[in-house]
């Protein structure tokens, strides 16, 4: 059969291919938005930095090690003991070489593959969920209570979490086994914030430039153009003036030479970090501020646009879509009202079912009563009570203080990570485990009682009874 040539079609095909190549090359070389090259959408935890491909793909020609380095740059210090119960160091021992051959847990990307949403099993995790089997297949021999349980259930609410198994270990379950759903009033309440009490132990606090002593309006060092009555009043009425934090402390953040910099009307999060470094660190690790994370900035080498509700995947209030997130988005300069930051700021943007259901919920009513002075401080439950809990924190090797964890992801998934830093301040452990395992209860913001029961405590009790019986029998036999 004779073949025909279509020279014009060929020319068109070649021309359009070349045009396509040029356009893509231009985007690749100069474009800020390179999403056209993404093989698939990023997971919930990383989509915020999807405009910064090189935050993870640091070197176009590097292999898996480059990606691993990128993971560790942001997550590395979370992957060590005591935060991680399966730290890499455990698997470097050659006795585990056969295990690594089956499932290479030395590499983050073995279990956390990005750009493949169809593989996601939740929380950025992409392996089959029965992976515990590889090392713990004989678990039922040592824990008869686990006989017959499928390995796909290890990670069910209230049970095991590969990286941090510390949240709910067996002895913790036993210690809290008989608690009522709601703890007695005397045992309820949040730990108090103690920043003011520990200032003198914080080595990097700028006490030399700003001695801890109350300031009056006459001391304020802002230029006249930057002043207003409202600003003066707000500053004077807050801890900043009371603790000697003058206008320049925030508006003239020091450069590398520690000298005050040029005046800026709108200081960014770095200005806050001068005193509130741990809070800012949490903010830049969480979904709100990760675009501003130092670890991202170091490799991306250009400032990323701040996160806005419009960029979020959760439902947001339509009129808040374009407010870029910074410390003052929630903490409103110059009052820095932490009560407003704990509820109003959140609900100003978040419009998902759980957030909307908060208003009028039992937790919200307690919060209103606390704000009205009808209940003592720390007895109300704000959004922040659970999502930005007050946790014990070691700023250095010799002290511990209470820190508001500004990384809301730190306790979000799996949600049993929230039980100790949040729920257990007021609720019994058994109730807390069940409540967080009930999606309907979470959606309606805890109006009612859990409709599910997780057997963690029952299993711990059964195992304890077995062990005690064995011990008793051996003592009698001797």
């Amino acid at each position: 059969m004779a073949t025909r040539n279509y020279p014009r079609l060929w020319a068109l095909w070649i021309a359009s291919t070349l045009i396509g190549v040029v356009i893509l090359a231009k985007v690749l070389a100069n474009g800020e938005d390179k999403r056209v090259f993404m093989p698939g959408p990023l997971s919930h935890g990383h989509h915020q930095i999807e405009l910064a491909c090189n935050a993870c793909h640091v070197d176009a020609f590097g292999g898996g090690e480059v990606m691993e380095d990128a993971c560790e740059r942001c997550h590395g210090d979370q992957r060590e003991k005591p935060l991680d119960s399966h730290p890499k160091a455990k698997f470097r021992d050659p006795r585990n070489a056969d295990r690594i051959a089956k499932l290479n847990v030395m590499r983050c990307v073995t279990c956390h593959v990005e750009h493949q949403p169809e593989m996601l099993k939740g929380a950025g995790y992409t392996q089959p969920i029965d992976f515990c089997f590889h090392c713990h297949e004989d678990i039922a021999e040592n824990r008869p209570t686990h006989a017959g349980l499928g390995f796909e259930t290890c990670n069910s609410a209230g049970c095991h979490n590969y990286h941090n198994n510390r949240a709910l270990y067996e002895d913790w379950l036993l210690r809290h086994q008989d608690e009522p759903d709601l703890l007695p009033v005397a045992d309820r309440g949040l730990p108090g914030r103690d920043f003011g009490d520990v200032l003198d132990q914080l080595m990097d606090y700028p006490r030399k430039a700003y001695p801890v002593a109350a300031l009056s309006l006459a001391d304020a060092d802002a230029p006249d153009a930057a002043r207003s009555d409202a600003i003066n009043r707000d500053w004077l009425e807050t801890s900043h003036a009371a603790a000697g934090v003058n206008c320049s402390a925030c508006h003239q953040p020091p450069g590398d030479d520690s000298e005050p910099g040029a005046w800026t009307d709108k200081p960014d999060h770095q200005a806050c970090a001068g005193c509130h470094g741990a809070e800012v660190d949490g903010f830049t690790r969480g979904l709100h501020g990760m675009r501003q994370a130092d670890a991202v900035g170091e490799v991306v080498k250009r400032p990323l646009e701040r996160m806005t509700p419009a960029d979020a995947r959760l439902p947001m209030q339509p009129d808040a879509k374009h407010s870029a997130l910074n410390c003052t988005s929630c903490h409103g300069a110059h009052r820095f009202d932490t009560a407003a930051a704990s509820v109003d700021a959140c609900l100003g943007c978040h419009a998902d079912e759980h957030s909307i259901a908060y208003v009028g919920s039992p937790h919200h009513r307690l919060w209103q009563q606390e704000q009205a002075g009808e209940l003592p401080a720390g007895s109300g439950v704000s959004c922040a009570t659970c999502h930005m809990p007050r946790v014990e924190f070691e700023p250095n090797a010799w002290m511990e203080r209470i820190l508001v964890q500004h990384n809301q992801s730190a306790t979000l998934r799996p949600n049993e990570k929230m039980i100790r830093p949040a729920c257990q301040h007021c609720h019994g452990l058994g109730f807390s485990i069940d409540a967080l395992a009930d999606p309907a209860l979470i959606a309606n913001n805890f109006r009612g009682r859990p409709a599910v029961h997780i057997e963690s405590i029952d299993m711990a009790k059964a195992n304890e009874a077995r062990a005690q019986a064995e011990l008793q029998a051996e003592l009698e036999a001797r």
């Binding site: 730290p87 470097r92 050659p94 006795r95 056969d98 062990a467």
Partner: protein, 201 residues
């Protein structure tokens, strides 16, 4: 037996001898291979075992059992207690693994294992571990040395007996609900320390 990597040996020996990885103005002789894998493992074990004994007797047994001023607990953070001697040993071993990664010339690993482990992940896994732990349990006062291949790498593997050196060792293991053996006595071999040194070839 094939010779070990020269640098790994000298660096590790220097570390054992000086207690530090920083070596200033090292004389040439110090770079000569002059130690067998067995001697290196024996030296490493001597340090580990002595530190472990001191911690168990002078810290845990003295403060928790004798003076009763603090407890020792697996959940030391929540209970504001001393770390258990086995945890002390394991954390050290994990820190060595972590730090050695930065020093490719220094290469060895060690772990505490037992035929009767409280934590089942510390039961022997390789044939050498199984034979070695059984050997040191059956032959009191003797060590076990062998060569094994793991993940395509050949190792000199030494197993040393781990002996109950204080009453707290015995009481804790005999009473622990996950302990598979409850009749230990002072002086018994309760497990073993396994040290591995990679060999060339």
């Amino acid at each position: 037996m094939k010779t070990l990597h020269k640098l790994s040996l000298t660096a590790a020996v220097a570390a054992v001898a000086a207690g530090t990885f920083a070596v200033a103005d090292m004389p040439e002789e110090a770079a000569e291979p002059s130690i067998t894998p067995r001697a290196m493992a024996d030296a490493l074990h001597l340090v580990m075992d002595s530190d472990r004994t001191v911690y168990t007797r002078k810290i845990v047994n003295r403060l928790a059992a004798k003076d009763k001023v603090i407890t020792a607990s697996e959940h030391y953070d929540d209970e504001k207690a001393l770390v258990l001697p086995a945890q002390m040993f394991r954390y050290g071993s994990e820190m060595v693994a972590e730090r050695a990664e930065e020093k490719p010339d220094v290469n060895f690993s060690y772990s505490l294992q037992s035929l009767w482990p409280v934590n089942k992940q510390n039961a022997p896994r390789t044939d050498a571990e199984k034979e070695g732990l059984q050997y040191v349990a059956d032959h009191k006062g003797e060590n076990y040395y062998t060569v094994e291949t793991l993940g395509d790498i050949k190792y000199f593997t030494a197993v040393y007996p781990d002996v109950a050196v204080a009453p707290v060792c015995v009481s804790c293991h005999n009473e622990h609900k996950d302990s598979p053996k409850r009749d230990f006595e002072i002086g018994d071999v309760m497990g073993g320390v396994v040290i591995r040194i990679p060999m060339e070839g």
